[in-house]
Point group: C2
Chain length 163, copies 2
C-alpha cells in the first residue's frame, strides 16, 4: 500500500461532502446578510468591532481567492478591502458569484491534493484541507458575531441548524 | 472495490486529524472561558441572549454525551442544564474532564463508522461525521458570540487562529 492509499484509507469525509458542508454554511451566512437592515449592515458595531459588512468582506476575500490559489498555485496578496458602494445588493451579488466560482474551482481540486502542504496568501502554512477548514471556521466565527449584532438590534437571526 | 473502499478512497481528513482539529478548537474555547471575569461569565448578556456560561453548558452537554452515544449506541435525552455552583473553576474542571473523555471515546471510534447514519439524542439524523462537525461548528458559533461579549466588556479575546 503506497502513501496515498494510506492517507486515503483514513479519510472520514469526501471532497463532495466537504463542498456541500461549506456551501451549506455559506447559504446560512447569506441569510444572515439578508436579515440586516442596510444601514446597520454597514454601520452597526459592538465593543469597537468591525461592522458585519467588513466581516463579510473578509469572508469573500478568503473564499474564492484562497480556493483559486489552492487550485492554480498562483499566489496573490490578501485583499479584504472590497467596495460594495454601500449597498447590500452588491454584497449579495458578490456572494452568489463566489458560490458559483467555488463550485467551479472545487471541481478542479483532486482528492489527493487535500493533504498537500501549502503556504496560502504567501503566509498561511498548512495542508490544503486545514486551510479549507480555516475558511469555513472563520466564517462560522464571524457569522456568530453577526448573530449578536442582529439580537442587539432586536432582530431574530435565522436558525443555526438550517443550511 | 467494495462500498467501504469507495467511501474511504474519497476521504480528505483522517480521524486523528479531525480529533486534533476539534481539540484545538476546544483549547481556544477554554481560553475564552478563562478571559471572562467570573461574574460576567455567568451574567453578561447582549440582546436577551444567554450568558456565556449557558453557551458553554450547551457545548459540554453536546460533546461527551454526543460522542459517547455515537461510540456506545446508548441514547440519552439531551440535558444542558448543568450546575457549576456559580464558579468558573468548576466549568474549567468539567471542560478538562471532557477533553480526556473525548480522547478516550475517540479511540473506540473506527474509521469506517464516520459515514454511518445515526439519530443522535433520539432526534438529530445524519452521518456520524456530520454530527461531529455539528458539535464543532456549534462551538465555534457560540464562542464567536463570546468574543462579542468580551469586546463589549472592553476585554481582548484570544486570537482566533491560536489553537
Amino acid at each position: 500500500m503506497n502513501q496515498l492509499n494510506t492517507q486515503i484509507e483514513a479519510g472520514v469525509i469526501s471532497p463532495e461532502q466537504l463542498l456541500k458542508h461549506w456551501q451549506g454554511h455559506r447559504s446560512l451566512t447569506r441569510r444572515v446578510i439578508e436579515a440586516f437592515p442596510e444601514k446597520e449592515f454597514f454601520e452597526h458595531s459592538i465593543g469597537g468591532m468591525r461592522p458585519f459588512s467588513k466581516l463579510v468582506s473578509e469572508m469573500l476575500a478568503i473564499a474564492v481567492p484562497g480556493l483559486k490559489e489552492i487550485v492554480t498555485g498562483k499566489t496573490s496578496p490578501f485583499n479584504e478591502d472590497l467596495d460594495f458602494d454601500g449597498k447590500k445588493e452588491n454584497v449579495l451579488k458578490a456572494w452568489d458569484d463566489s458560490t458559483e466560482q467555488i463550485n467551479s474551482y472545487w471541481k478542479q481540486l483532486s482528492a489527493e491534493r487535500f493533504q498537500e502542504q501549502i503556504k496560502l496568501f504567501g503566509q498561511y502554512e498548512g495542508t490544503v484541507v486545514s486551510n479549507l477548514f480555516y475558511f469555513i471556521d472563520n466564517e462560522i466565527h464571524h457569522r456568530g458575531q453577526g448573530y449578536v449584532y442582529l439580537r442587539s438590534l432586536g432582530i431574530q437571526p435565522p436558525f443555526f441548524w438550517e443550511r
